[in-house]
């Protein structure tokens, strides 16, 4: 498995960030999740956190090193998340259950499987074009499909944020599954919250991300979207992966899972709260300096003969 991955969540113009993002991978499988806690409801960010946590936890338990049935895994993971949110609200005696959208994508053997509930989206981009995307579970999208309103009207429709499927809440979620989709070298899969796709079209993002260094282009897309969102802008989040075949010139930041053991899982999930502190790293100079120091100490403490 070889890929480049980037994830980020920004607050936008809101008082707090109710989006949650995570990815985790084992030797043979990669999972990406975006959940957008619903602001109109209590504890939106908690619902989002529970959703992401539930999915990553079950990935850690099952991906040894791949999951048995990816669709079953997604279905189970999202249903469990839904119930975990209900359990949470029961335990804390909340009047209304917190809710969140959720989109999750699992890649295994260069095949992508995804599922979603609500209006967080997945885009599959190939050679600068969007070749597949999820359909939002919103009334506005239904109206648009029926031809009642145009795309331009939908973009400014007052009820464009109303969705009819989500995790948490009284109704069981409507979870929609993709088809088993083979990936090509260079394909980009982007999962994001409406804060991102609401201000930037999938097509324009596909063009920006095409061919460019993902780790530079993706933050740029986020930054531009945040500016467009303005002072009242929604939270915006993304996890983007560029799938790479093994013979491709390895780029500096790509991940190889060759050295991982069968039961090892790497997870990147930001803590509740703000950015965790950066990792300490050892520079070339520091290595040279440490060796020099040790050699001096050896000389100094070696008894002269």
């Amino acid at each position: 498995m070889r890929f480049t991955i980037y994830q980020e969540s920004r607050q936008g113009g809101r008082a707090n960030n109710e989006d949650r993002v995570a990815y985790c991978y084992s030797r043979d499988a990669l999972l990406m999740v975006v959940a957008d806690g619903m602001g109109g409801h209590f504890y939106g960010e908690i619902a989002a956190q529970i959703a992401v946590q539930t999915l990553t936890d079950s990935f850690q338990q099952e991906a040894h090193p791949g999951v048995g049935d990816p669709f079953r895994f997604l279905q189970k993971g999202m249903t469990n998340a839904h119930h975990a949110i209900l359990d949470y609200s029961a335990k804390h005696r909340l009047n209304d259950s917190p809710r969140t959208t959720c989109v999750a994508c699992l890649i295994q053997d260069s095949l992508a499987y995804w599922a979603h509930a609500g209006d967080s989206r997945l885009f599959l981009m190939r050679r600068g074009k969007v070749v597949a995307q999820t359909k939002d579970h919103s009334r506005v999208r239904l109206l648009m499909e029926e031809g009642v309103i145009s795309e331009a009207q939908a973009a400014v429709h007052p009820e464009r944020n109303k969705i009819y499927s989500c995790l948490g809440g009284g109704q069981a979620p409507e979870i929609e599954f993709s088809r088993k989709t083979p990936l090509e070298d260079g394909d980009i899969i982007l999962v994001c919250s409406d804060g991102l796709w609401g201000v930037t079209s999938g097509e324009s993002m596909a063009v920006t991300l095409k061919g460019a260094n993902l780790l530079q282009a993706a933050p740029m897309v986020m930054a531009q979207a945040e500016v467009k969102g303005g002072t009242q802008g929604d939270n915006l989040s993304m996890v983007a992966v560029r799938w790479e075949e093994s013979y491709v010139e390895p780029s500096e930041s790509s991940v190889s899972t060759q050295a991982m053991t069968m039961d090892q899982v790497t997870t990147r999930l930001d803590e509740f709260g703000r950015n965790p502190s950066a990792k300490t790293d050892l520079s070339e100079d520091e290595i040279e300096q440490a060796i020099e120091e040790i050699r001096l100490a050896i000389d100094k403490y070696t008894p002269k003969k």
Binding site: H64, S254, T257, Q264, I291
Partner: protein, 316 residues
Amino acid sequence: MAQQANHALPNGFQLEEYTIERQLSLGGFSIVYLAQDLEGRQVAIKEYLPNSLALRGEGEIKPQIAPDHQAAFRYGMKCFFEEGRALARLSHPNVIRVLNFFRANDTVYMVMEYEHGRTLQEFIQKHQGHISERFMRGLFTRMLNGLREVHSNKLLHLDIKPSNVYMRTDNAPVLIDFGAARQTLASDQPMLKPMYTPGFASPEHYGSRNDLGPWSDIYSVGASMYACLAGCAPQAADDRIKKDSLTPAMVRWDGQYSDRLLEIIDWCLNLNHLYRPQSVFALQKALVEAITPPTEKKPPGWINRVVGKIKGAAKK
């Protein structure tokens, strides 16, 4: 599932000025080779190569480090430097001596003295339960000289066990493998778990590690002494905390060794670190006190008092 093992450098490989003779041992963190320097002197070379982060295939020289592991690999290298730094400052006949330190093949190497001998572990296995009190006292007193030197440099060994006590052919002990020394690893580096050996690691090793101190190494010394008598490691400290089924040395070898020695072992193996000897010096002092040969009869009340005291302390 089994961790995949890294391939060692081939025999006869020329590593800077050293010629690799053969692999001595393979650990999760490093490979140790026997090699010869330019003057034909035998040395041990330790290669930093953490299994979980770097992969060297068959016939390869440079390990492959996944870009994602680069940070963790470098972090582990820092720990390797700590070990080098710690050892470089120590010049003591009972502590392994570092001779050189260099960088090659995208990783780092530490050259140490090599002498013929065997580890205490091998010795214990050979002499299953027939190690004399005189030998024990002599060995541990000298070994503690080395440990005292370590502690006086504000270092902890943290992995003292019979297989890390090397005995030269004249039975002079040498402390080896300072890989665990000062490895206070950050929690955000899940791939580099702090290492410890069940049975020899102190209870403090398992917890938050804030209570680690000379007394933690002393627990390991006590466990090693216990292992000399028992022929195997005592019950692991984390199990003992749950349910202590370790028979005190005072009870198990009553009459076969001097009370004082058995008492010292139980003293070191107290679960509560405050009830152990607090410094190597205190332990050494107790060890070199005049030996009273084991007496056949002892007033039972006194024994029970001591055993009761130990049990009571263990419960705290």
